[in-house]
């Protein structure tokens, strides 16, 4: 049991943070919100630095990819990185440099970053499907330039999908849940950092708003939410997306997403509802993530079933009654 990163993980985090300081950040996030598009420059930098291979690079590759995904999500970068580097290799069994997006059959819902992906992984009950896609397969969804760019798959395109075989669906569901947890934790952290920075500086009644206890306590609860989401996501990734842990991590992270959205906006006041202020880039993504893969209630019910109806999982988690 060790919560601090090992030497290799420390190097991964440091070099990724350096890379992100050059290719991502609040200004860049706002730029992409003003002029929607995909951050190919960031993707190229991540690829060149070897981050796309991260999940296969060592024994703790799943966790390492989750750590990298968290750092990337924190910056609200417009990239398929977490789906490509965390989910795809663990479902398909191999690393590729394709931009990957995630969907659930019958693929009628808008899909996060769908219009920019080259491969779509589709959860179809107990099997995962792969679909190579081109921009022609997609119609853009009008999101009012807020949150993740969304796109809808054109009817008929799904017929080209190939199955990865029975049982592959469970693997996709579990890693997708870890990805949701990692993304949500990173976005929450980014939104909270913005909010804390703002409330340290913004003065009303002659003092920083962040010095009022009524405000501090609300931020304190958000901090607990972010930290809990982060560590649950990392543990689930470390344990190879074990189904109960993946559902638990997604339940906690997605379950807190709307609270984080509401609280950060409320604590910002009117400025938070403007396009010039970057909060919306983080906050609206949280609301979108919350709806993926059946939403919060499904994560929670699956977490409950996978724990309380599974004697082996339960016995390992709690002291048996005397």
């Amino acid at each position: 049991m060790q919560f601090s990163p090992n030497e290799q993980q420390r190097q991964i985090i440091e070099s990724l943070q350096t890379l992100l300081s050059r290719h991502a950040g609040r200004e860049r996030a706002l730029q992409f919100a003003r002029t929607p598009g995909y951050d190919h420059e960031l993707d190229a930098a991540l690829g060149q630095a070897g981050f796309l291979d991260i999940s296969q690079a060592s024994e703790t590759g799943g966790l390492d990819a989750a750590l990298a995904g968290f750092e990337t999500a924190r910056t609200a970068a417009v990239t398929c990185f977490t789906a490509s580097a965390l989910v795809s290799p663990n479902v398909t069994g191999h690393v590729s440099d394709l931009r990957v997006a995630l969907a659930e059959a019958p693929v009628t819902q808008p899909i996060r970053l769908g219009g920019y992906c080259e491969m779509l992984l589709v959860l179809n009950d107990d099997e995962a499907l792969t679909l190579d896609t081109t921009p022609d397969d997609w119609t853009t969804v009008d999101t009012n330039r807020a949150g993740f760019p969304l796109a809808r798959l054109r009817p008929g395109a799904i017929t080209r999908a190939r199955s990865l075989g029975p049982g592959s669906g469970a693997r996709l569901r579990d890693w997708w849940r870890v990805e949701i947890a990692v993304q949500a934790a990173g976005l929450m952290k980014g939104a909270l950092d913005l909010t804390v920075d703002f409330l340290r500086d913004r003065r009303q009644f002659g003092r920083p708003i962040g010095s009022f206890q009524a405000v501090q306590h609300r931020l304190g609860r958000l901090a607990v939410m972010v930290e809990g989401a982060r560590w649950l996501a990392f543990e689930a990734a470390y344990r190879d997306a074990r189904p109960d842990l993946a559902a638990t991590a997604a339940a906690f992270a997605a379950g807190g997403a709307d609270t984080m959205f509401r609280e950060c906006h409320q604590l910002h006041g009117a400025i938070g509802f403007t396009r010039d202020f970057p909060l919306h880039v983080w906050s609206i993504r949280l609301l979108q993530l919350q709806q993926e893969l059946g939403g919060v209630s499904r994560h929670r019910r699956d977490a409950a079933q996978l724990t309380f109806l599974n004697p082996e999982v339960l016995a390992a988690a709690v002291t048996p009654a005397v």
């Binding site: 049991m1 501090q216 304190g220 607990v224 409950a304 309380f308 339960l314 002291t319």
Partner: protein, 379 residues
């Protein structure tokens, strides 16, 4: 970063579980604390048995009766013993923070007198911290200790002290500085129970028969040699103590075990099939698991030799939130049956009271805001 227990730690846990099964009767849920002599005898026997195996103070230095293992052994002890009603009785406090505080701040004589006894499972302590006018604002405490030769003369009172009925010693916070010296004028004394001038009064508590006492000090004389740490430097001891205390009894695991029991009932009575109830079980379980990780992170910091951080406040806040959430869910599963004290329901009052003990949730939030988030102070 890794989330596995070592083989040695897992083996320790397995041995502990076997010992618990051997020592405690089936269906045991905790001591009947109204029968103090029986409680004390049984808790002492349990702890002494553990001490004989060397399990009580595994992470202590060898010279004080430990085995120099990692701090993780403390986490395992807590995870196994807190949820089942803490068969060590109040001795868990000794091992968690009183012993470490004596190791860090005590004189050689104090170490000699107390640490071996604690390691042997032979002694019960209580803590005299809160006062009628110094609860959340602990640094405003007024119980006064005045030097008189080689003694301190203590006058004042304490309140909300647990385990008084069985304790052998009290670790007492007193004011030795000026009345307005706040944290700069507090001293810690080690006081034997029954010292002349020291009386106690039981408080009828909703949270359990032996939950709370008042302590009164009337011209009580305590030798200066019983002081823990330097005069007026007691706040540093308190900071250490509270950081250890907040994670010492693993409340997340108590909540998780209670939740598992409520789930068993819900599965049996069909409520688990209700999607809304099932969703709430998932929500509560996720919160308990987040609380587990945030608490284990504090042990990790302790193992790394870190001074106290606000991580212990995050741990305490979410753990006590879990206890409240689980009690409500248990009530919704059982209906009015939940109010039968001899039934399987979880006591919502006791669970709610945990969010007041060891610093209220509001104090935890204050610390998180200032120390964890770096927000400006309110004054």
């Amino acid at each position: 970063m890794e989330f596995d227990w070592t083989d040695e730690d897992a083996a320790y846990r397995a041995e502990l579980r076997a010992y618990i099964r051997k020592m405690l009767p089936k269906g045991w849920r905790g001591y009947d604390q109204t029968d103090r002599p029986a409680y004390k005898t049984a808790a002492r026997a349990f702890a002494q048995g553990m001490a004989e195996h060397g399990w009580l103070t595994q992470n202590w230095p060898k010279e004080y009766g430990g085995a120099e293992c990692s701090a993780w052994r403390q986490a395992i002890l807590g995870e196994e013993l807190t949820p089942i009603g803490e068969p060590r009785g109040s001795q868990y406090m000794n091992v968690n923070w009183i012993g470490p505080a004596i190791m860090r701040f005590g004189t050689e004589e104090q170490k000699l007198n107390h640490l071996r006894r604690i390691a042997a499972g032979d002694v019960f302590w209580c803590q005299g911290f809160s006062e009628p006018d110094a609860g959340s604002d602990l640094a405003s405490l007024r119980t006064r200790a005045v030097r008189d030769g080689d003694d301190y003369v203590v006058n004042g009172s304490k309140i909300w002290t647990s385990h008084v009925g069985i304790a052998d010693f009290c670790i007492l916070l007193v004011r030795t500085g000026e009345p307005d010296s706040r944290a700069r004028g507090i001293t810690v004394l080690i006081v034997p129970m029954g010292q002349p001038g020291f009386t106690t009064r039981h408080i009828n508590s909703l949270a359990g028969d032996e939950s709370h006492y008042e302590l009164f000090f009337d011209e009580m004389r305590i030798p200066v040699s019983a002081r823990l740490g330097e005069e007026n430097q007691g706040w540093e001891v308190v900071r250490w103590a509270l950081a250890y205390e907040r994670v010492g009894s693993t409340q997340y695991q108590r909540a998780a075990v209670q939740l598992a029991e409520a789930a068993e009932i819900a599965i049996a009575n069909g409520k688990f099939d209700d999607p809304e109830i099932q969703s709430r079980f998932g929500e509560a379980w996720a919160a308990c698991q987040a609380a587990r990780l945030l608490t284990l992170k504090v042990y990790d910091l302790r193992e790394a030799g870190s001074p106290p951080t606000a991580d212990s406040n995050l741990s305490r806040l979410i753990s006590t939130d879990c206890l409240k959430m689980v009690a409500q869910l248990s009530a919704d599963v059982l209906g009015l049956e939940a109010l039968d004290r001899k039934g399987p329901g979880i006591d919502p009052i006791r669970n709610a009271s945990m969010a007041v003990a060891s610093g209220t949730s509001e104090i935890q939030l204050d610390r998180i805001a200032i120390d964890f988030l770096g927000l400006p102070r309110s004054k």
